[in-house]
Protein backbone atom coordinates (compact mmCIF):
# COMPACT_ATOMS: atom_id res chain seq x y z
CA UNK A 1 0.00 0.00 0.00
CA UNK A 2 1.39 3.34 -1.01
CA UNK A 3 1.53 6.19 1.50
CA UNK A 4 -0.20 8.44 -1.00
CA UNK A 5 -3.20 6.07 -0.98
CA UNK A 6 -3.76 6.34 2.77
CA UNK A 7 -2.33 9.74 3.60
CA UNK A 8 -5.52 11.55 4.54
CA UNK A 9 -7.03 8.46 6.11
CA UNK A 10 -4.10 8.13 8.51
CA UNK A 11 -4.01 11.88 9.15
CA UNK A 12 -7.70 11.81 10.02
CA UNK A 13 -7.37 8.87 12.36
CA UNK A 14 -4.43 10.63 13.97
CA UNK A 15 -6.45 13.82 14.53
CA UNK A 16 -9.48 11.90 15.82
CA UNK A 17 -7.43 9.85 18.27
CA UNK A 18 -5.33 12.79 19.47
CA UNK A 19 -8.50 14.76 20.23
CA UNK A 20 -10.00 11.81 22.12
CA UNK A 21 -6.74 11.41 24.02
CA UNK A 22 -6.63 15.10 24.95
CA UNK A 23 -10.21 14.94 26.22
CA UNK A 24 -9.36 11.82 28.21
CA UNK A 25 -6.26 13.50 29.65
CA UNK A 26 -8.32 16.57 30.53
CA UNK A 27 -10.32 14.45 32.93
CA UNK A 28 -7.80 11.81 33.99
CA UNK A 29 -4.71 13.93 34.50
CA UNK A 30 -6.38 17.31 34.61
CA UNK A 31 -4.47 18.53 31.54
CA UNK A 32 -5.68 21.97 30.61
CA UNK A 33 -5.24 21.55 26.86
CA UNK A 34 -8.71 20.38 25.91
CA UNK A 35 -11.27 19.86 28.67
CA UNK A 36 -14.90 18.83 28.51
CA UNK A 37 -16.14 16.94 25.48
CA UNK A 38 -17.46 17.54 21.99
CA UNK A 39 -20.67 19.04 23.38
CA UNK A 40 -18.73 21.84 25.04
CA UNK A 41 -15.05 22.20 25.82
CA UNK A 42 -12.44 24.65 26.96
CA UNK A 43 -9.26 24.97 24.91
CA UNK A 44 -6.11 25.88 26.88
CA UNK A 45 -8.35 26.71 29.85
CA UNK A 46 -9.54 29.89 28.11
CA UNK A 47 -11.23 29.48 24.71
CA UNK A 48 -14.78 28.11 24.99
CA UNK A 49 -15.95 25.76 22.24
CA UNK A 50 -19.41 24.28 21.94
CA UNK A 51 -21.54 22.21 19.66
CA UNK A 52 -23.81 24.63 17.76
CA UNK A 53 -26.54 22.01 17.40
CA UNK A 54 -26.60 21.30 21.15
CA UNK A 55 -26.80 25.05 21.80
CA UNK A 56 -29.65 25.32 19.28
CA UNK A 57 -31.55 22.52 21.02
CA UNK A 58 -31.08 24.16 24.42
CA UNK A 59 -32.42 27.39 22.98
CA UNK A 60 -35.38 25.45 21.57
CA UNK A 61 -36.28 24.33 25.10
CA UNK A 62 -36.77 28.00 25.90
CA UNK A 63 -33.70 28.30 28.12
CA UNK A 64 -31.45 31.34 28.05
CA UNK A 65 -28.03 29.82 27.66
CA UNK A 66 -24.79 31.07 29.18
CA UNK A 67 -22.57 33.38 27.13
CA UNK A 68 -19.61 31.00 27.17
CA UNK A 69 -21.63 28.36 25.34
CA UNK A 70 -22.83 30.94 22.80
CA UNK A 71 -19.32 32.24 22.13
CA UNK A 72 -18.12 28.65 21.84
CA UNK A 73 -20.77 27.82 19.25
CA UNK A 74 -19.93 30.98 17.27
CA UNK A 75 -16.25 30.01 17.15
CA UNK A 76 -17.12 26.54 15.86
CA UNK A 77 -19.54 27.89 13.24
CA UNK A 78 -16.98 30.42 11.99
CA UNK A 79 -14.16 27.88 11.88
CA UNK A 80 -16.03 25.24 9.91
CA UNK A 81 -18.06 27.76 7.93
CA UNK A 82 -15.03 29.62 6.62
CA UNK A 83 -12.31 26.99 6.62
CA UNK A 84 -13.14 23.38 7.33
CA UNK A 85 -16.50 22.73 5.72
CA UNK A 86 -18.10 19.58 7.08
CA UNK A 87 -14.70 18.40 8.34
CA UNK A 88 -16.07 17.81 11.85
CA UNK A 89 -17.72 14.62 10.65
CA UNK A 90 -14.63 12.97 9.22
CA UNK A 91 -11.77 14.58 11.13
CA UNK A 92 -13.18 14.97 14.64
CA UNK A 93 -16.28 12.88 15.28
CA UNK A 94 -15.34 9.53 16.87
CA UNK A 95 -18.40 7.75 15.47
CA UNK A 96 -16.81 8.22 12.05
CA UNK A 97 -14.33 5.49 13.01
CA UNK A 98 -17.19 3.10 13.80
CA UNK A 99 -19.13 3.78 10.61
CA UNK A 100 -16.00 3.82 8.43
CA UNK A 101 -15.19 0.37 9.77
CA UNK A 102 -18.68 -0.79 8.84
CA UNK A 103 -18.33 0.72 5.35
CA UNK A 104 -14.92 -0.91 4.89
CA UNK A 105 -16.30 -4.29 5.96
CA UNK A 106 -19.21 -3.83 3.56
CA UNK A 107 -16.75 -3.42 0.71
CA UNK A 108 -14.57 -6.34 1.83
CA UNK A 109 -17.51 -8.70 2.36
CA UNK A 110 -19.05 -7.54 -0.93
CA UNK A 111 -22.26 -6.65 0.91
CA UNK A 112 -22.52 -3.59 -1.32
CA UNK A 113 -22.92 -5.82 -4.36
CA UNK A 114 -26.03 -7.53 -3.06
CA UNK A 115 -28.93 -5.23 -3.65
CA UNK A 116 -31.29 -4.73 -0.78
CA UNK A 117 -34.50 -2.84 -1.17
CA UNK A 118 -33.95 -0.35 1.58
CA UNK A 119 -34.20 3.19 0.43
CA UNK A 120 -33.96 6.15 2.72
CA UNK A 121 -33.47 9.68 1.50
CA UNK A 122 -30.14 11.30 2.35
CA UNK A 123 -32.15 14.36 3.26
CA UNK A 124 -33.49 12.51 6.30
CA UNK A 125 -30.80 14.20 8.42
CA UNK A 126 -32.31 17.62 7.70
CA UNK A 127 -35.75 16.42 8.77
CA UNK A 128 -34.07 15.00 11.87
CA UNK A 129 -32.79 18.48 12.74
CA UNK A 130 -36.32 19.87 12.60
CA UNK A 131 -37.75 16.96 14.58
CA UNK A 132 -34.99 17.26 17.22
CA UNK A 133 -35.78 20.92 17.71
CA UNK A 134 -39.53 20.26 17.94
CA UNK A 135 -39.00 17.47 20.47
CA UNK A 136 -36.63 19.71 22.47
CA UNK A 137 -39.31 22.39 22.61
CA UNK A 138 -42.04 19.92 23.64
CA UNK A 139 -40.13 18.00 26.30
CA UNK A 140 -37.77 20.64 27.66
CA UNK A 141 -34.78 18.42 27.10
CA UNK A 142 -32.17 18.78 24.35
CA UNK A 143 -33.53 15.84 22.38
CA UNK A 144 -30.60 14.67 20.27
CA UNK A 145 -28.20 14.94 23.20
CA UNK A 146 -29.94 12.11 25.06
CA UNK A 147 -29.75 9.70 22.10
CA UNK A 148 -26.58 10.85 20.34
CA UNK A 149 -24.06 8.02 19.85
CA UNK A 150 -21.43 10.72 19.34
CA UNK A 151 -21.61 12.00 22.89
CA UNK A 152 -22.06 8.47 24.23
CA UNK A 153 -18.81 7.36 22.59
CA UNK A 154 -17.07 10.60 23.47
CA UNK A 155 -18.13 10.52 27.13
CA UNK A 156 -17.42 6.80 27.26
CA UNK A 157 -13.77 7.41 26.42
CA UNK A 158 -13.50 10.26 28.92
CA UNK A 159 -15.57 9.07 31.88
CA UNK A 160 -16.01 5.33 31.26
CA UNK A 161 -18.44 3.42 29.09
CA UNK A 162 -21.91 2.44 30.28
CA UNK A 163 -24.83 0.53 28.87
CA UNK A 164 -25.16 3.20 26.16
CA UNK A 165 -22.23 1.61 24.34
CA UNK A 166 -24.76 -0.87 22.95
CA UNK A 167 -26.03 1.95 20.74
CA UNK A 168 -22.63 2.12 19.03
CA UNK A 169 -22.77 -1.59 18.25
CA UNK A 170 -26.30 -1.09 16.94
CA UNK A 171 -25.15 1.70 14.60
CA UNK A 172 -22.24 -0.43 13.41
CA UNK A 173 -24.60 -3.30 12.58
CA UNK A 174 -27.09 -0.91 10.98
CA UNK A 175 -24.41 0.52 8.70
CA UNK A 176 -23.06 -2.93 7.94
CA UNK A 177 -26.25 -4.82 7.23
CA UNK A 178 -29.12 -2.40 6.77
CA UNK A 179 -28.03 0.73 4.96
CA UNK A 180 -24.74 1.76 3.42
CA UNK A 181 -23.44 4.88 5.19
CA UNK A 182 -26.71 4.73 7.10
CA UNK A 183 -25.88 6.75 10.19
CA UNK A 184 -23.39 9.37 8.97
CA UNK A 185 -24.79 9.66 5.46
CA UNK A 186 -28.52 9.60 6.13
CA UNK A 187 -29.66 9.97 9.72
CA UNK A 188 -27.29 11.95 11.92
CA UNK A 189 -28.74 15.45 12.39
CA UNK A 190 -25.41 16.78 13.63
CA UNK A 191 -23.97 15.82 10.25
CA UNK A 192 -26.84 17.75 8.70
CA UNK A 193 -26.02 20.81 10.79
CA UNK A 194 -22.36 20.61 9.83
CA UNK A 195 -23.33 20.17 6.17
CA UNK A 196 -25.27 23.41 6.35
CA UNK A 197 -22.53 25.22 8.28
CA UNK A 198 -19.78 24.13 5.90
CA UNK A 199 -21.59 24.79 2.67
CA UNK A 200 -19.43 27.74 1.61
CA UNK A 201 -16.12 26.74 3.18
CA UNK A 202 -12.85 27.61 1.49
CA UNK A 203 -11.17 24.21 1.68
CA UNK A 204 -12.70 21.89 -0.90
CA UNK A 205 -11.80 18.93 -3.06
CA UNK A 206 -11.31 19.86 -6.70
CA UNK A 207 -11.72 17.51 -9.62
CA UNK A 208 -9.59 17.68 -12.75
CA UNK A 209 -11.45 15.67 -15.37
CA UNK A 210 -8.56 15.88 -17.85
CA UNK A 211 -6.57 13.52 -15.61
CA UNK A 212 -9.51 11.25 -14.81
CA UNK A 213 -9.40 7.71 -16.19
CA UNK A 214 -12.92 6.88 -15.01
CA UNK A 215 -11.72 4.09 -12.70
CA UNK A 216 -14.49 5.12 -10.28
CA UNK A 217 -12.51 4.19 -7.20
CA UNK A 218 -13.44 7.56 -5.71
CA UNK A 219 -17.13 6.77 -6.01
CA UNK A 220 -16.57 3.40 -4.44
CA UNK A 221 -15.10 4.82 -1.24
CA UNK A 222 -17.01 8.10 -1.00
CA UNK A 223 -19.48 8.05 1.91
CA UNK A 224 -21.54 10.84 0.30
CA UNK A 225 -21.35 9.65 -3.28
CA UNK A 226 -23.98 12.13 -4.53
CA UNK A 227 -21.44 14.98 -4.25
CA UNK A 228 -19.19 13.37 -6.89
CA UNK A 229 -21.53 13.95 -9.83
CA UNK A 230 -18.84 15.72 -11.85
CA UNK A 231 -16.36 12.85 -11.93
CA UNK A 232 -15.06 12.38 -15.46
CA UNK A 233 -17.39 15.07 -16.78
CA UNK A 234 -16.45 18.50 -15.53
CA UNK A 235 -13.39 19.98 -13.88
CA UNK A 236 -14.78 21.75 -10.85
CA UNK A 237 -14.89 21.94 -7.08
CA UNK A 238 -16.82 19.32 -5.15
CA UNK A 239 -19.34 21.85 -3.94
CA UNK A 240 -22.02 19.56 -2.50
CA UNK A 241 -22.58 20.55 1.10
CA UNK A 242 -22.51 16.97 2.34
CA UNK A 243 -18.87 16.48 1.32
CA UNK A 244 -17.06 16.06 4.63
CA UNK A 245 -13.57 16.79 3.26
CA UNK A 246 -12.50 13.33 4.36
CA UNK A 247 -10.10 13.11 1.43
CA UNK A 248 -10.67 9.42 0.76
CA UNK A 249 -11.29 10.16 -2.93
CA UNK A 250 -8.02 12.11 -3.06
CA UNK A 251 -6.28 9.16 -1.40
CA UNK A 252 -7.53 6.46 -3.73
CA UNK A 253 -7.08 8.43 -6.95
CA UNK A 254 -3.94 7.30 -8.73
CA UNK A 255 -4.35 9.72 -11.60
CA UNK A 256 -4.00 13.02 -9.77
CA UNK A 257 -7.55 13.94 -10.75
CA UNK A 258 -8.64 14.94 -7.23
CA UNK A 259 -6.98 17.18 -4.65
CA UNK A 260 -7.62 19.68 -1.89
CA UNK A 261 -7.72 23.28 -3.04
CA UNK A 262 -8.84 26.58 -1.67
CA UNK A 263 -11.96 27.93 -3.26
CA UNK A 264 -11.44 31.39 -4.61
CA UNK A 265 -14.79 33.10 -4.74
CA UNK A 266 -13.33 36.04 -6.67
CA UNK A 267 -12.32 34.08 -9.75
CA UNK A 268 -15.01 32.64 -11.99
CA UNK A 269 -13.88 29.02 -12.22
CA UNK A 270 -14.53 28.32 -8.54
CA UNK A 271 -18.08 27.19 -8.45
Amino acid sequence: MKWSNVKYLILRRFVQLVLLFLYFAGNYWGWKVLQGNLSASRLFDTVPLSDPFAVLQIMATGMIIGTNALIGAAIIVLFYGIIGGRAFCSWVCPVNMVTDLAAWLRRKLLIDRIERKVWVTRNLRYYMIVIALIVSAITGLAAFEVVSPITILNRGVIFGFGAGAGLLVAIFLFDLFVLKNGWCGHICPLGGVHSLIGKYSLIRVKHNSDNCTLCMRCKEVCPEVQVLGMIGKRSEFVSGQECSNCGRCVDVCDDDALGFHIRNYLSKESK
Partner: protein, 284 residues
Protein backbone atom coordinates in the same frame (compact mmCIF):
# COMPACT_ATOMS: atom_id res chain seq x y z
CA UNK B 1 -44.10 3.45 -18.17
CA UNK B 2 -43.93 -0.31 -17.82
CA UNK B 3 -46.58 -2.70 -19.05
CA UNK B 4 -47.94 -3.45 -15.57
CA UNK B 5 -48.16 0.14 -14.47
CA UNK B 6 -50.39 0.98 -17.40
CA UNK B 7 -53.11 -1.31 -16.14
CA UNK B 8 -53.39 0.52 -12.84
CA UNK B 9 -55.51 3.61 -12.42
CA UNK B 10 -53.37 6.64 -13.21
CA UNK B 11 -52.58 8.90 -10.30
CA UNK B 12 -53.31 12.56 -10.84
CA UNK B 13 -50.74 15.19 -9.99
CA UNK B 14 -53.06 16.56 -7.36
CA UNK B 15 -53.48 13.20 -5.69
CA UNK B 16 -49.74 12.65 -5.76
CA UNK B 17 -49.17 16.03 -4.12
CA UNK B 18 -51.59 15.41 -1.28
CA UNK B 19 -50.41 11.84 -0.76
CA UNK B 20 -46.81 13.03 -0.57
CA UNK B 21 -47.84 15.72 1.86
CA UNK B 22 -49.66 13.20 4.06
CA UNK B 23 -46.68 10.84 3.80
CA UNK B 24 -44.19 13.41 5.04
CA UNK B 25 -46.48 14.78 7.71
CA UNK B 26 -47.26 11.27 8.93
CA UNK B 27 -43.62 10.26 9.14
CA UNK B 28 -42.80 13.54 10.87
CA UNK B 29 -45.50 13.08 13.50
CA UNK B 30 -44.40 9.47 14.02
CA UNK B 31 -40.82 10.61 14.56
CA UNK B 32 -41.81 13.35 16.98
CA UNK B 33 -44.04 11.02 19.00
CA UNK B 34 -41.47 8.24 19.29
CA UNK B 35 -38.66 10.60 20.15
CA UNK B 36 -40.69 12.76 22.54
CA UNK B 37 -41.92 9.64 24.30
CA UNK B 38 -38.37 8.51 24.89
CA UNK B 39 -37.17 11.98 25.90
CA UNK B 40 -40.02 12.37 28.37
CA UNK B 41 -39.03 9.11 30.00
CA UNK B 42 -35.33 9.94 29.83
CA UNK B 43 -35.71 13.16 31.76
CA UNK B 44 -37.54 11.58 34.63
CA UNK B 45 -34.97 11.06 37.34
CA UNK B 46 -36.67 12.29 40.52
CA UNK B 47 -34.20 10.84 43.02
CA UNK B 48 -31.17 12.57 41.52
CA UNK B 49 -28.88 14.84 43.52
CA UNK B 50 -27.42 17.60 41.36
CA UNK B 51 -24.18 19.57 41.82
CA UNK B 52 -24.30 22.64 44.06
CA UNK B 53 -25.60 25.80 42.36
CA UNK B 54 -27.69 23.72 39.94
CA UNK B 55 -30.84 25.37 38.66
CA UNK B 56 -34.17 23.91 39.67
CA UNK B 57 -34.39 20.43 38.06
CA UNK B 58 -36.63 21.24 35.06
CA UNK B 59 -34.48 24.25 34.13
CA UNK B 60 -31.29 22.34 34.85
CA UNK B 61 -32.30 19.63 32.37
CA UNK B 62 -33.02 22.27 29.75
CA UNK B 63 -29.73 24.08 30.18
CA UNK B 64 -27.21 21.25 30.80
CA UNK B 65 -25.16 20.59 27.63
CA UNK B 66 -23.66 17.38 29.14
CA UNK B 67 -20.04 18.41 28.60
CA UNK B 68 -18.68 17.14 31.91
CA UNK B 69 -16.59 20.23 32.63
CA UNK B 70 -18.12 20.33 36.15
CA UNK B 71 -17.14 16.73 36.87
CA UNK B 72 -13.62 17.34 35.59
CA UNK B 73 -13.27 20.49 37.69
CA UNK B 74 -14.55 18.50 40.69
CA UNK B 75 -12.17 15.56 40.45
CA UNK B 76 -9.12 17.64 39.50
CA UNK B 77 -9.51 20.40 42.09
CA UNK B 78 -6.22 20.84 44.00
CA UNK B 79 -7.74 19.87 47.38
CA UNK B 80 -8.75 16.51 45.96
CA UNK B 81 -5.21 15.37 45.13
CA UNK B 82 -4.06 12.60 47.43
CA UNK B 83 -0.72 13.78 48.81
CA UNK B 84 0.65 10.25 49.11
CA UNK B 85 -0.05 9.07 45.60
CA UNK B 86 -0.22 12.43 43.81
CA UNK B 87 -3.37 11.19 42.08
CA UNK B 88 -6.83 12.67 42.57
CA UNK B 89 -9.29 10.77 44.76
CA UNK B 90 -12.60 9.83 43.10
CA UNK B 91 -14.56 12.98 42.36
CA UNK B 92 -17.99 13.76 43.75
CA UNK B 93 -19.67 14.42 40.44
CA UNK B 94 -20.32 11.60 38.02
CA UNK B 95 -21.66 11.77 34.49
CA UNK B 96 -24.78 9.65 34.19
CA UNK B 97 -24.55 6.57 32.04
CA UNK B 98 -27.48 4.69 30.52
CA UNK B 99 -27.85 2.36 33.50
CA UNK B 100 -27.75 5.04 36.20
CA UNK B 101 -31.46 5.96 36.19
CA UNK B 102 -30.44 9.56 35.73
CA UNK B 103 -30.88 11.54 32.49
CA UNK B 104 -27.94 10.35 30.43
CA UNK B 105 -24.87 12.58 30.33
CA UNK B 106 -25.93 14.83 33.20
CA UNK B 107 -23.83 15.28 36.38
CA UNK B 108 -25.04 13.89 39.69
CA UNK B 109 -23.59 12.52 42.89
CA UNK B 110 -24.16 9.69 45.32
CA UNK B 111 -23.25 10.87 48.84
CA UNK B 112 -22.72 7.37 50.22
CA UNK B 113 -19.93 6.92 47.65
CA UNK B 114 -18.48 10.43 47.49
CA UNK B 115 -20.30 13.33 49.19
CA UNK B 116 -20.01 16.97 48.15
CA UNK B 117 -17.31 18.77 50.14
CA UNK B 118 -18.83 22.18 49.34
CA UNK B 119 -15.66 23.85 48.07
CA UNK B 120 -15.73 27.54 48.89
CA UNK B 121 -14.81 28.43 45.29
CA UNK B 122 -17.37 25.98 43.73
CA UNK B 123 -15.09 24.96 40.83
CA UNK B 124 -17.91 22.90 39.27
CA UNK B 125 -20.19 25.90 38.89
CA UNK B 126 -17.36 28.12 37.67
CA UNK B 127 -16.64 25.62 34.88
CA UNK B 128 -20.23 25.42 33.59
CA UNK B 129 -20.49 27.05 30.14
CA UNK B 130 -24.30 27.12 29.95
CA UNK B 131 -25.19 28.40 33.44
CA UNK B 132 -27.04 25.18 34.24
CA UNK B 133 -24.89 25.55 37.36
CA UNK B 134 -25.50 29.17 38.18
CA UNK B 135 -23.07 30.97 40.48
CA UNK B 136 -25.86 33.41 41.40
CA UNK B 137 -27.52 30.62 43.35
CA UNK B 138 -24.57 30.45 45.75
CA UNK B 139 -23.64 34.14 45.80
CA UNK B 140 -24.68 36.11 48.83
CA UNK B 141 -26.64 39.11 47.48
CA UNK B 142 -25.48 41.30 50.37
CA UNK B 143 -21.74 40.69 50.20
CA UNK B 144 -21.50 39.59 46.58
CA UNK B 145 -19.30 36.70 47.69
CA UNK B 146 -19.73 32.96 47.25
CA UNK B 147 -21.44 31.45 50.26
CA UNK B 148 -21.38 27.68 50.61
CA UNK B 149 -24.25 27.84 53.10
CA UNK B 150 -26.52 28.80 50.22
CA UNK B 151 -25.89 25.52 48.43
CA UNK B 152 -28.99 23.38 48.15
CA UNK B 153 -28.51 19.91 46.75
CA UNK B 154 -31.09 18.14 48.87
CA UNK B 155 -32.10 17.46 52.43
CA UNK B 156 -30.80 14.87 54.88
CA UNK B 157 -33.48 12.60 56.29
CA UNK B 158 -33.07 10.34 59.33
CA UNK B 159 -34.71 6.94 59.47
CA UNK B 160 -35.39 6.58 63.22
CA UNK B 161 -35.94 2.83 62.83
CA UNK B 162 -32.44 2.04 61.68
CA UNK B 163 -30.56 4.93 63.33
CA UNK B 164 -28.84 3.32 66.32
CA UNK B 165 -28.88 6.62 68.24
CA UNK B 166 -32.65 6.22 68.37
CA UNK B 167 -32.12 2.80 69.95
CA UNK B 168 -30.16 4.40 72.76
CA UNK B 169 -26.69 3.48 71.46
CA UNK B 170 -24.40 6.46 71.57
CA UNK B 171 -23.41 7.48 68.04
CA UNK B 172 -22.87 10.97 66.78
CA UNK B 173 -21.04 10.16 63.54
CA UNK B 174 -23.37 12.23 61.34
CA UNK B 175 -23.43 15.11 63.81
CA UNK B 176 -19.65 15.31 63.83
CA UNK B 177 -19.33 14.87 60.09
CA UNK B 178 -21.70 17.73 59.35
CA UNK B 179 -19.87 20.83 58.06
CA UNK B 180 -22.63 22.89 59.69
CA UNK B 181 -22.50 21.14 63.04
CA UNK B 182 -25.21 22.34 65.44
CA UNK B 183 -26.85 24.23 62.60
CA UNK B 184 -27.86 21.58 60.08
CA UNK B 185 -27.69 18.62 62.47
CA UNK B 186 -28.06 19.00 66.21
CA UNK B 187 -28.33 16.34 68.88
CA UNK B 188 -31.57 16.25 70.79
CA UNK B 189 -31.22 14.83 74.29
CA UNK B 190 -34.03 12.63 75.49
CA UNK B 191 -34.55 10.32 78.44
CA UNK B 192 -34.28 6.61 77.74
CA UNK B 193 -37.27 5.09 79.56
CA UNK B 194 -36.10 1.54 78.83
CA UNK B 195 -33.10 1.76 81.15
CA UNK B 196 -34.34 4.69 83.16
CA UNK B 197 -30.84 6.06 83.58
CA UNK B 198 -29.44 6.66 80.09
CA UNK B 199 -29.99 9.32 77.46
CA UNK B 200 -30.89 9.25 73.79
CA UNK B 201 -28.69 11.52 71.67
CA UNK B 202 -30.91 11.78 68.63
CA UNK B 203 -29.69 13.52 65.47
CA UNK B 204 -32.21 16.04 64.21
CA UNK B 205 -31.85 17.81 60.85
CA UNK B 206 -32.76 21.46 60.42
CA UNK B 207 -34.38 21.70 57.02
CA UNK B 208 -33.41 25.33 56.53
CA UNK B 209 -29.72 24.92 57.31
CA UNK B 210 -29.06 21.55 55.64
CA UNK B 211 -27.42 21.86 52.20
CA UNK B 212 -27.68 18.19 51.28
CA UNK B 213 -23.92 17.72 50.94
CA UNK B 214 -24.22 14.17 52.21
CA UNK B 215 -21.18 14.06 54.53
CA UNK B 216 -23.56 12.65 57.16
CA UNK B 217 -24.71 9.89 54.81
CA UNK B 218 -21.10 9.05 54.05
CA UNK B 219 -20.22 8.97 57.76
CA UNK B 220 -23.21 6.92 58.93
CA UNK B 221 -22.04 3.72 60.60
CA UNK B 222 -25.01 1.50 59.79
CA UNK B 223 -24.76 -1.00 56.95
CA UNK B 224 -27.13 1.00 54.79
CA UNK B 225 -27.10 4.64 55.80
CA UNK B 226 -29.80 5.57 58.33
CA UNK B 227 -29.36 9.23 57.41
CA UNK B 228 -29.50 9.96 53.71
CA UNK B 229 -29.95 12.86 51.36
CA UNK B 230 -33.02 13.18 49.17
CA UNK B 231 -34.01 15.96 46.79
CA UNK B 232 -36.17 18.44 48.68
CA UNK B 233 -39.25 17.79 46.55
CA UNK B 234 -39.08 14.14 47.60
CA UNK B 235 -38.10 14.66 51.23
CA UNK B 236 -40.64 17.32 52.12
CA UNK B 237 -44.42 17.43 52.27
CA UNK B 238 -46.48 20.57 51.92
CA UNK B 239 -49.24 21.52 54.35
CA UNK B 240 -50.92 24.03 52.01
CA UNK B 241 -51.90 27.58 52.85
CA UNK B 242 -54.91 26.66 54.96
CA UNK B 243 -52.73 25.21 57.70
CA UNK B 244 -50.74 28.06 59.19
CA UNK B 245 -48.78 28.34 62.40
CA UNK B 246 -50.82 31.04 64.09
CA UNK B 247 -48.09 31.59 66.63
CA UNK B 248 -45.42 32.28 64.02
CA UNK B 249 -45.45 35.77 62.44
CA UNK B 250 -43.36 34.64 59.49
CA UNK B 251 -45.53 31.63 58.78
CA UNK B 252 -48.67 33.77 58.94
CA UNK B 253 -47.60 35.44 55.71
CA UNK B 254 -48.36 32.21 53.90
CA UNK B 255 -52.04 33.03 54.31
CA UNK B 256 -51.45 35.39 51.39
CA UNK B 257 -50.96 32.32 49.18
CA UNK B 258 -54.61 31.53 49.75
CA UNK B 259 -55.86 34.71 48.13
CA UNK B 260 -57.74 33.91 44.97
CA UNK B 261 -57.49 30.19 45.60
CA UNK B 262 -60.65 28.21 46.28
CA UNK B 263 -59.92 25.83 49.14
CA UNK B 264 -63.51 24.67 49.73
CA UNK B 265 -64.28 21.04 48.94
CA UNK B 266 -66.73 20.63 46.08
CA UNK B 267 -68.35 17.24 45.71
CA UNK B 268 -71.82 15.66 45.60
CA UNK B 269 -72.49 16.17 49.32
CA UNK B 270 -71.19 19.74 49.54
CA UNK B 271 -73.94 21.03 47.28
CA UNK B 272 -76.39 20.91 50.15
CA UNK B 273 -76.30 22.76 53.44
CA UNK B 274 -74.53 20.66 56.14
CA UNK B 275 -77.64 21.01 58.29
CA UNK B 276 -79.82 19.37 55.61
CA UNK B 277 -77.35 16.61 55.32
CA UNK B 278 -77.44 15.94 59.08
CA UNK B 279 -81.23 16.01 59.16
CA UNK B 280 -81.43 13.44 56.38
CA UNK B 281 -79.75 10.86 58.51
CA UNK B 282 -76.61 8.95 57.76
CA UNK B 283 -76.04 7.40 54.42
CA UNK B 284 -72.75 5.71 53.65
Amino acid sequence: MSHEAKKKTPISERRRFFTDLAHHAGLGVMGVLLWAGYAQKAKSSPLTLRPPAALEEADFLKACIKCGLCAEACVNRPQNIDKETGRPRPGTLKMARAQDNVTIGTPFFKPREVPCYMCEDTPCAVACPTNALDLKKVTNPQTGELDFKMMDMGLAVVDPNSCIAFWGIQCDACYRACPLMDEAIRLEYDRNPRTGKHAFLKPVVDMNACTGCGLCEKACVTEKAAIFVLPREIALGKPGAHYVKGWDKKDQQRVQERVGKDVTTHDERSKENPMDYLNKGLEF
